[in-house]
Amino acid sequence: DVENNNDYRIPEDSYETIYEDRSDWPDSFGWGRPASQKEIDSLSIAIKPDGTGLPQGSGTVAEGRTIYAGKCAACHGPNGVEGPEDVLIGTESLFQQDITIRKTIGNYWPYSTTIFDYIRRAMPFNAPGSLSDEEVYSLTAYLLFKNQIIDEGKVIGPESLPKIEMPAKKFFVKDDRTAGSNPTY
């Protein structure tokens, strides 16, 4: 009978214990060189939800509209909904069990700072990192406006951006799955 064939074995302990005994290790190996503040500043482009990392500058919906038409519409559609790439604009709630509704900045992005961070690092897809901070602020303003999150006149900058409350924020929870024989999928 196949039952006896299960010759498997559960690993006795988890992997991290390989280096449990570090008694002969020095406090530090000392390899690598100290990073200067200058090189840290030049590389650390990540923005936190509280706005830390946002550069000086500002942008407007009007300027964003122009830049969008020139550099973004080809991939995301003239109105941000036509594609062929990701749909950016839409306010219909996702939680109506209608799977045809697309995830957008308006209905799914929990933090406004992510818009600035992502566009600056990755868009336009064919020339990432080519936009000025001012351009990114303007595009962020334009996309927030089109998603009915801010008014058309709002100026977006390091102070105002993190204060914007995103409609989807309230839905986000940490992973609530549990492992084990009675799991929450």
């Binding site: 010759d7 559960i10 991290e16 995830k103 992510t114 989807a168 492992a179």
Partner: protein, 385 residues
């Protein structure tokens, strides 16, 4: 066709050049190619990834054992594969640390190292709903390698991490400048920075020259082409961990769903192969991001009864295992299924069990799947149960 290019032939060049080798097809009748500087793949073997604009799926139905050939490892990129000069390459570690530092690749290679065989799976690894799907289409975004590098814990000692730091940002040097926030307490135990894959340097598509490996977690967080780590007290809420790689469940959005749940798939027999009446060794892969696989059950009657498969040793933690189950098919239409059980006791759910608690969330969809064997030998995919 044989190419004569053997140093042994120097001494008999005249007679060789007089030989008519065009008609010789018996390999015992003419010397083959001499040893070279690098091995080859048979011209009769033609395994291929299945490429889409931003991903490529592994031909898992063609694999044997548990190792994935490095050039057939699945690919998922957000800005293409960058070409990085390992001599120019630097990793910056900063943020909530007392000693921000820059490491060259050669610095990292000096640290105490470790190797580990682990699967890596994209959390979007599912395609279903049709009968004409191969294992490569259904679940080809999982692969397995032996990774070698430095434990995160080893490296993090060097920079003096602030005890208040709870997360770190991992950032790639691809065109997406890919970023993910990683929970420090969970990552520090098993996380690695790896520079080698299956014995040699990482392949470009897998993050050359350096990537993060977080065992058992969704592939996207094991950031490739790693250039920067920034410690923080909170997650950065990057696009990939908010707009992507999150799951609407009920009226919530589940975020930081990192562990890959236990899963299995039968890779033989499968679509578009043909099954033959008589003895069949049903074969497949099973894995869990939460530990070791402790069992794989097989049903050959569409889920009514189950019997344990043989699992190939060694069974490793957070690794693909190869399972096999000998079965005699009487030739009547039936459906075969596999079901993985991991060391937490988690049993791979059916599609309906999964869908009952959440719609298809696009990510972390790991149901039991089946292959319907038709009387004429056709094998068709099924996930409608």
């Amino acid at each position: 066709t044989f190419l004569i290019k053997n140093s042994l032939f120097g001494t008999v060049q005249t007679s060789l050049s007089e030989m008519d080798i065009s008609g010789i097809s018996d390999p015992t009748k003419l010397p083959g190619l001499p040893p070279g500087e690098i091995g080859s793949r048979s011209v009769y073997e033609n395994l291929k990834l299945l490429p889409l604009p931003a991903s490529s799926r592994s031909p898992i139905q063609d694999f044997h054992g548990m190792i994935t050939p490095s050039d057939l490892h699945f690919q998922r990129h957000h800005g293409g594969v960058p070409e990085i000069d390992p001599n120019q390459f630097e990793l910056l570690i900063h943020g909530m640390v007392s000693k921000p530092k820059v490491f060259k690749l050669k610095d990292l290679k000096k640290f105490p190292s470790t190797s580990r065989i682990l699967f890596l799976e994209c959390s979007g690894n599912y395609q279903g709903g049709r009968e004409d799907l191969s294992p490569q289409q259904v679940a080809g975004m999982t692969s397995q390698s032996e990774w070698t590098g430095v434990m995160l814990s080893t490296l993090f000692r060097e920079v003096g991490v602030d005890p208040k730091a709870k997360w770190f940002l991992a950032e790639g040097s691809d065109a997406a400048v890919m970023t993910r926030s990683v929970p420090l307490d969970r990552a520090i135990k098993e996380g690695m920075l790896v520079y080698a894959q299956n014995g040699e340097a990482l392949r470009p598509e897998q993050g050359y020259p350096l990537r993060l490996i977080l065992p058992g977690w969704e592939g996207n967080i094991s950031v490739k082409w790693l250039r920067r780590i920034e410690f923080s007290d909170a997650p950065f809420m990057t696009r990939e961990e908010t707009s992507k790689y999150t799951e609407p469940v009920g009226n919530k959005v589940r975020q930081f769903s990192l562990e890959m749940d236990a899963r299995s798939i039968i890779t033989y027999p499968s679509y578009p192969q043909r099954a033959e009446k008589g003895y069949i060794e049903i074969k497949g892969l099973a894995w869990s991001g939460r530990g070791a696989i402790i069992g794989v059950d097989i049903s050959t009657d569409g889920g009514k009864s189950w019997n344990p498969a043989v699992i190939q040793q060694p069974v490793l933690d957070k690794a693909h295992v190869r399972f096999r189950y000998l079965w005699k098919w009487d030739g009547r239409e039936t459906e075969i299924r596999s079901r993985a059980v991991d060391q937490t006791g988690y049993v791979q759910p059916t599609p309906k069990q999964l869908l009952a608690v959440r719609e298809n969330t696009r990510y972390h969809f790991n149901p039991v799947t089946g292959w319907i064997l038709k009387r004429d030998g056709r094998v068709l995919f099924n996930d409608d149960f």
